[in-house]
């Protein structure tokens, strides 16, 4: 049974040093409050897998020294420009980068949810993305003739972590149409979800709602974190805090400014 945790820290116990942690893209529901809690705890050597891209979350974790390996298709602050701590870490050779392309990550997670060892994907051939991924193999389509196609090993994260609008006490999580969260949870050994609020009833009872549910069967722990995606947006609930993101982009441009940001917005719990 999923644990309805009393605190974020308790819910995050499965995110151990060195674990493979899968996280969601900005528009799907990013567990930012949980991310700040992980930084406060000082988690180390994460293999962070962002499905399929990341923004503030990866930049913060990298800047705070929590990441050893990053596997994703892109890290950027969108309209606020390049992700400064990601960029600095790459230039310094401080993290190992497994560059991917969005559909490759989706396909590799889908392979894991099917319990098969790999997924095939079109594209990629002739790119340096493929050239830098010795773990990806090109084969000749066994059903065709002279038709090369790339195979991607399944991605099986230790933990998937995201933020959603609500869950019930059985750990059923309403994700609406952010359905890559289902794939992510199916692929991961354990899934931790933070939610805006707990729902008193059974979210699986109404078929209209049930179609948008991640069943509690897949969920390890749930914690309530109001505005838990902020300053990033939560679809249909609140928009991005643009002033905050602009301030982040300005501060994180330097190591000193980033340290000040961490002090103000991560380590000062009242602000977090």
């Amino acid at each position: 049974m999923p644990v309805i945790a009393a605190t974020l820290e308790e819910a995050l116990a499965a995110v151990t040093d060195g674990c493979a942690l899968a996280v969601a893209r900005e528009v799907s529901g990013v567990a930012m409050a949980a991310t700040r809690a992980l930084i406060r705890r000082g988690v180390k050597r994460l293999h962070l897998i962002a499905l399929p891209t990341s923004s503030l979350q990866a930049d913060l974790l990298i800047g705070a020294g929590c990441v050893e390996t990053l596997e994703t298709s892109a890290v950027s602050l969108g309209e606020f420009g390049p992700a400064p701590r990601f960029t600095a870490a790459m230039l310094a050779g401080a993290i190992r980068m497994k560059d991917a392309t969005c559909p490759a990550l989706h396909a590799a997670f889908q392979a894991a949810e099917k319990g098969v060892p790999f997924a095939p994907l079109r594209g990629l051939i002739g790119s340096d993305v493929l050239a830098h991924r010795p773990d990806w193999k090109t084969i000749d389509n066994p059903f065709g003739a002279d038709d090369p196609i790339v195979l991607l090993p399944a991605i099986k994260p230790d933990v998937a972590l995201f933020h959603a609008p609500m869950a019930d006490r059985a750990g059923n999580v309403w994700i609406g149409r952010q359905r890559e969260l289902l794939t992510m949870a199916h692929a991961a050994a354990k899934t931790i979800v933070t939610v805006e609020s707990l729902h008193g009833g059974d979210l699986l009872a109404d078929p209209l709602v049930a179609a948008g549910i991640l069943p509690g069967f897949y969920v390890e722990a749930v914690a309530v974190a109001p505005r838990g995606a902020a300053p990033l947006p939560l679809p249909d609930r609140y928009p991005a805090d643009l002033d905050h993101l602009a301030e982040y982009a300005r501060l994180a441009a330097t190591a000193e400014g980033f340290a000040r940001y961490l002090e103000q917005h991560v380590h000062d719990r009242r602000a977090a």
């Binding site: 893209r25 900005e26 528009v27 799907s28 499905l51 399929p52 891209t53 994703t72 298709s73 892109a74 890290v75 950027s76 969108g78 309209e79 606020f80 390049p82 992700a83 990601f86 960029t87 790459m90 230039l91 310094a92 050779g93 190992r96 980068m97 560059d99 991917a100 392309t101 969005c102 559909p103 490759a104 989706h106 396909a107 889908q110 994907l121 079109r122 594209g123 990629l124 051939i125 002739g126 790119s127 340096d128 993305v129 493929l130 830098h132 002279d146 038709d147 090369p148 196609i149 149409r177 952010q178 359905r179 890559e180 969260l181 289902l182 794939t183 679809p235 249909d236 643009l242």
Partner: protein, 252 residues
């Protein structure tokens, strides 16, 4: 850019969106990825003019996005040929249509790092009309050979490839891409620019017909449609851009 009479003055972004809208042509489904406010403007303009055709999917939008099966649905759609037009940019673009979204120098410890390839290493192969755009037209961005190929402009005959580049739109000009010859051809030069300036600022070799027209400026009606109908819709996804270019207040 200069040369337009004051009563139809337009911004660079509006000219580029108009050029891209014409390149979209008749399509059923146009998808727009991350960090592409000018292509998004063009796609929404095309949809407005076509009374709902083409379908437009803005990847980061809640409202202008009909997908219900997660982030993979766009790519699955593209793999089946259900997306006709997409847009790509690049930190570097070369004369063979190769794009670099990753970086310059050693991959593990680069001199310059860009955000990453996003969906390019797949979509460039399977979307029939990919329109390249880059608002900085310089020898730094348009290079003889990209340092990292996020996605190649063309592929050998045995590689499954139903898509690829058709054009490159910059702040200076419009190039069309010839897939058989693996080269760009200068199609028009934007108002206020010259062929000599385009040559000076392009790092790769390209074809130049004897007579190269000036890009037509956006018609007054086009500008009105962009500013009054498209811009407010754009603000959901690109609030900064909508504010800077169209004066849309993000708090509305």
């Amino acid at each position: 850019m200069t040369g337009a009479p004051p009563n139809s003055a337009f911004r660079d972004e509006e000219l580029l969106a108009d050029v891209i809208c014409r390149l979209i042509g008749d399509a059923r489904h146009v998808a727009v990825g991350n960090a592409s406010p000018i292509p998004a403007t063009a796609a929404l303009l095309a949809r407005m003019r076509g009374n709902g055709r083409p379908y437009v999917s803005l990847l980061q939008s809640r409202k202008h996005n009909f997908f219900t099966d997660g982030g993979r649905e766009l790519f699955d759609c593209a793999g089946q040929g259900r997306i006709d037009v997409f847009f790509l940019s690049g930190g570097e673009i070369d004369g063979e249509g190769n794009v670099n979204l990753v970086g310059i120098g050693d991959h593990d410890k680069p001199k310059v790092r860009f955000p990453g390839s996003f969906g390019a290493a797949y979509l460039y192969y399977v979307v029939p009309k990919v329109i390249l755009f880059r608002t900085e037209h310089s020898r730094r961005t348009l290079v003889p050979k990209v340092d990292f190929i996020s996605a190649p402009g063309t592929s050998p005959a045995n590689v499954h490839r139903t898509g690829g580049p058709i054009a490159l739109v910059t702040n200076r000009c419009l190039f069309l891409f010839d897939r058989d010859r693996r080269r760009f051809c200068l199609a028009s030069v934007h108002p206020g620019q010259t062929v000599a300036e385009v040559l000076d600022n392009t790092g790769f070799d390209f074809d130049r017909p004897a007579d190269i027209p000036t890009t037509a400026p956006p018609a007054p009606q086009t500008l009105r449609q962009m500013r009054e109908i498209v811009a407010p819709e754009l603000a959901e996804v690109y609030p900064q851009f909508a504010a800077a270019v169209f004066g849309i207040d993000r708090s509305r």
